[in-house]
């Protein structure tokens, strides 16, 4: 231990030590009769330095200095290499950062590892929200939770203009349990929990800044929420995000919800499942223990309330430390992300291999210099170490550049994707760690491998012929061809995937959706929130439809359960057609006319049709289940007929726009579905003309605060994600293509320069230009061909794997493959032929004379 200490002390005081030693030796010489026998000072100083064992550090520093100087002298190479690495590392970091922020990172709240979000599960069923009285009951009777937090969000009308905003109704302990603080005023706490106290609200910092104009007097003022006077008591701190990145504009107290939504059965109903339930585990309670305890509690409570609690029910906790995801969810997401991560790492490997090839080219050019070093006594390990250290600045700058690029790209994507401004996108220590790890990987590929390759050569022979022989043999080297194949494979793969994504986007954007949305608008009055019963809902809708139908701007209108382009309905699949996802909707007969969906066969619904036994199916479903469209009168589903098919409609991907394997199933709107229904109307002219019409008609009942939206806006919003993903994939694909072509160009060009003499001889002996070109290009043809084949082959399964995840691509899309391949071949050919042309034009015979 003290040995180390001594050595470090020496290192720090090296200069002083050497000065003293020199003086000591001088004194010694002064005392000698024959000072000439003392020995040569410099040599003795070197040997003295050796004794302390810091030589390797000195050598490394020297190598680094040489390396940097070498890079400065070849700025084109240095800049290209750094840019390529920046791109490779930056891409990986961006993906990691976005995945971290969006999905993996625990929320910024107090002790996320003890906070759980509960899903209510029973055999075959799972919901992520529960009825309010259910949550209250569990909160009262349980023994494993120190606090229960509840949350419900929805739209409310803010202010006198009735501006619709998203509000979160939360339990009074919300902010104190999550560790939220107020920027101004105060937040919910003790004393605000009873129904009778006056309603209060807290606004979020972003809402206050952007929509309330940073009003300095907002705290304490009264605002109308759903026309009910509410006192604003505080503003959340800017950094407070809560449990979800999707933040509301304002918070209200859940217990006071009835004051803002009178007649809503929400707080008392056991049917309405709209409350998100979180719990803080008591000290020492594990999630599993909590789950089992709650399971027992529910079983006990079932005795008292057999109608409200199902058999074998339990509450499944998802912990905050894993962003409230349960096992299966997390596995799925991590799986999809790993796949994407693999692809981006591939880009990095491609980039690094490219730079490696460039470094190899430069190293072979220095084989003479290295040969001299070997001749002077340098060990091979020393040479390898030198070459590796020389690439260190490249990796370092690549890492720095990559981090900066990732930071900029994350912010850009956040802004484009509408991420709230207070979400922290700055790189944390994990990102830095990943960045360092990536640079090490890059360094390994770039530095160590070519260095080892060079060091193995007969460098002594290199001195004799000026390095030609060595360079030529390295040019043919298997390693270089392998790296080239890897580059080509990677970039081809990414290009094909990007082409697939673009094609999907194209298809989605083209008119062939099967229904017309540009002129349609949707009215959603949320009758369920205001305590309407079935009869009341039917009466309301009849009145509204009459009003809207009278207006000249209306071309057609119909009620439906699921508004088009919404995400509400989940799909089923039937055994008769297992790969097809069937999305069902309940509609009024005029739906097809409103959405301009053609009826291929049969009729639309009529007044007498029974919702339970009458269906209309889409063409795709008919083909998949029955093998033909001629299915009128047949039983549905095929193997267990419960309903009769009265019509076949054209395919209309009205719910999941980008999906490929979906089909539709329609039923007549049942009486009990009128409460949840929405009205879809098609305008004669522009859809915007319908908005005031719908709003005015909906205001028939003054309690309501209806939402009116245009279908084309919904459509645009749905597409943003795919657009961004496509854009990123395409730019990545093109950039990777450019890198690969740079690599091909570099290799061919370098090989050509080396063998200029050889070409001169060929030409002098009467060879044609064509054969010279063939000679130049020969070394890269095989690697490129193999790389392309592998890349294209890999694109298929990867495309299929991605389609099951968040990104939709059609894997068997020949146009995508063809397009990408053509682009690649053209680019690669140009990259390879350019140097060949240059060689010919520069007259190799001249070079023979000047050798």
């Amino acid at each position: 231990m003290t040995n180390w200490f001594r050595r470090v002390w020496y290192l720090v005081n090296r200069r002083r030590h050497e000065r003293e030693l020199v003086q000591e030796m001088h004194e010694h010489r002064g005392l000698m009769h024959d000072p000439a026998t003392f020995g040569e000072t410099h040599r003795l100083l070197e040997q003295s330095r050796d004794a302390w064992g810091w030589n390797w550090l000195d050598d490394a520093a020297q190598d680094l200095r040489l390396g940097v100087r070498g890079l400065l002298r070849a700025p084109a190479f240095a800049i290209t290499a750094v840019l390529i690495l920046t791109f490779g590392i930056g891409l990986n970091l961006t993906l990691y950062q976005m995945a971290n922020v969006g999905l993996l990172r625990p929320p910024d709240v107090r002790s996320p590892e003890t906070l759980a979000r509960f899903k209510r599960k029973s055999p075959g069923n799972s919901t992520s929200t529960v009825p309010y009285p259910f949550a209250q009951l569990v909160a009262r009777e349980n023994t494993v939770l120190s606090a229960v937090l509840l949350e419900n969000h929805g739209a409310v009308a803010w202010g006198d203009e009735l501006t619709p905003i998203t509000a979160s109704f939360v339990s009074p302990n919300w902010f104190s349990e999550l560790g939220g603080t107020a920027a101004q005023g105060r937040l919910f706490g003790e004393g605000i929990d009873s129904v009778s106290s006056a309603p209060v609200a807290v606004v979020t910092h972003q809402f206050w800044r952007t929509r309330l104009g940073s009003d300095p007097n907002i705290v304490g003022s009264t605002v109308a929420v759903n026309r009910v006077p509410v006192t604003v008591i505080g503003i959340t701190a800017r950094e407070f995000v809560g449990t979800d990145n999707d933040q509301p504009s304002a918070y209200l107290v859940l217990d006071q919800r009835e004051q803002v939504f009178p007649d809503s059965p929400f707080l008392r109903s056991w049917e309405v499942e709209n409350t998100g339930m979180y719990g803080r585990l008591k000290d020492g309670v594990t999630p599993e223990a909590a789950r089992e305890s709650l399971r027992a509690l529910l079983a006990a409570l079932r005795e008292q309330r057999p109608d409200d609690i199902v058999e074998d029910e339990w509450l499944d906790p998802g912990m905050g430390s894993v962003n409230f995801m349960d096992q299966r969810e997390r596995r799925g997401i991590v799986g999809a992300l790993s796949l994407l991560g693999l692809l981006t790492t591939l880009v990095l490997v491609v980039a690094a291999a490219n730079v490696g090839n460039l470094v190899l080219s430069r190293a072979t050019g220095r084989s003479r210099e290295l040969g001299v070093r070997v001749a002077l006594g340098a060990k091979r390990s020393r040479i390898v170490r030198q070459l590796v250290i020389e690439t260190l600045p490249l990796a370092l700058f690549g890492a720095i550049g990559g981090t900066m690029l990732a930071s900029w790209a994350s912010n850009l994507i956040g802004a484009l994707g509408g991420l709230a401004e207070n979400i922290d996108l700055s790189p944390d220590w994990r990102t830095v760690g990943v960045s360092l790890a990536l640079s090490v990987v890059a360094l390994m590929v770039i530095g160590a491998v070519p260095a080892w390759k060079v060091a193995r050569q007969e460098l002594m022979a290199a001195i004799k012929d000026g390095g030609q022989q060595v360079s030529i043999s390295l040019d043919k080297a298997r390693l270089r061809r392998f790296m080239m194949a890897a580059q080509v494979c990677g970039s081809c793969l990414i290009l094909v995937l990007a082409a697939m994504m673009t094609r999907t986007l194209q298809r989605v954007l083209s008119d062939d959706l099967g229904f017309k949305y540009e002129q349609a608008a949707v009215l959603d009055p949320g009758l369920g929130r205001h305590g309407f019963d079935d009869a009341g809902a039917i009466a309301y809708w009849n009145a509204v439809k009459a009003r809207v139908g009278q207006q000249p701007e209306t071309a057609a209108l119909a009620l439906a359960l699921a508004p088009p382009l919404a995400r509400r309905i989940r799909g089923y699949s039937y055994d008769d057609a297992p790969w097809l996802e069937v999305i069902s909707n309940s509609i009024e007969p005029a739906f097809f006319e409103v959405m301009e969906i053609p009826l291929v066969l049969g009729r639309t619904f009529q007044a007498g049709d029974d919702p339970k036994t009458t269906v209309i199916i889409s063409r795709a479903l008919a083909m998949a289940m029955f093998g033909s469209v001629d299915v009128l009168g047949q039983g549905f589903p095929r193997s267990k007929p419960e309903a009769t098919i009265v019509g076949v409609a054209g395919d209309a991907h009205a719910i999941k726009v980008e999906a490929v394997d979906t089909s539709e199933l329609y039923r007549p709107l049942a009486a009990e579905e009128y409460v949840q229904a929405v009205l879809i109307a098609r305008a004669r002219g522009d859809a915007a003309t319908l908005a005031p019409v719908l709003r005015e008609a909906a205001a028939l009942d003054s309690r309501l605060l209806p939402g009116v939206g245009m279908l084309r806006d919904h459509f645009e919003r749905r597409l943003t994600g795919t657009r961004i993903a496509s854009g990123i994939a395409l730019s990545t694909g093109l950039l990777t293509l450019m890198i690969a072509c740079l690599g091909i160009f570099g290799v061919v060009s370098y090989g050509a320069t080396l063998r200029v003499k050889e070409f001169g001889i060929h030409l002098a002996l009467g060879a044609e230009s064509k054969s010279i070109v063939r000679l130049v290009v020969r070394n890269v043809v095989w690697p490129v061909a193999i790389g392309m084949a592998l890349g294209v082959a890999a694109a298929g399964p990867i495309g299929v794997a991605l389609s099951s995840g968040p990104i939709q691509v059609e894997a068997a899309d020949p146009a995508a493959y063809a397009g990408a391949l053509v682009l690649f071949v053209v680019a690669a050919l140009s990259a390879a032929l350019l140097p060949a042309m240059r060689v010919l034009r520069s007259d190799p015979i001249q070079s023979l004379r000047h050798s």
């Binding site: 003290t2 040995n3 001594r6 050595r7 020496y10 003293e20 030693l21 003086q23 000591e24 030796m25 004194e27 010694h28 005392l31 000698m32 026998t37 003392f38 020995g39 040569e40 000072t41 003795l44 040997q47 003295s48 050796d50 004794a51 302390w52 064992g53």
Partner: protein, 109 residues
């Protein structure tokens, strides 16, 4: 190890330690002592003492202090440490063993 004409490698360190076992002394004195004790049989290039002394310092076998000699010069005097004493013993044993082995071979019939 500094290569010295006539001296087996590694032994210079041992000799310096031995000399310093008696008393601390500075570089010139060490050279004198070695020459004196070996009756001029061992020719040590005097400068090569210094790399050896640095090695001794690096391993903690000697400690060096600056002092002023009687003639008013600044000299660095080296003193052996307990660790150094142990090292001397062990090196002496090794050397002895090697010498015995060689002698045994040379004197075998």
């Amino acid at each position: 190890m500094p290569k010295v004409a006539g001296l087996p490698p590694g032994t210079l360190v041992m000799l310096i330690l031995r000399v310093l076992r008696q008393e601390p002394m500075h570089g010139y004195a060490i050279a004198q002592k070695i020459r004196h004790l070996s009756s001029d049989q061992l020719s040590v290039e005097e400068g090569s003492l210094y790399p050896a002394l640095q090695k001794l310092l690096a391993n903690g076998w000697v400690k060096a202090d600056w002092a002023t000699s009687d003639t008013g010069r600044k000299v660095r005097s080296y003193r052996i440490t307990p660790k150094g004493l142990k090292q001397l013993e062990s090196e002496q044993d090794d050397y002895q063993r090697m010498a015995d082995a060689i002698t045994a071979i040379l004197e075998s019939t």
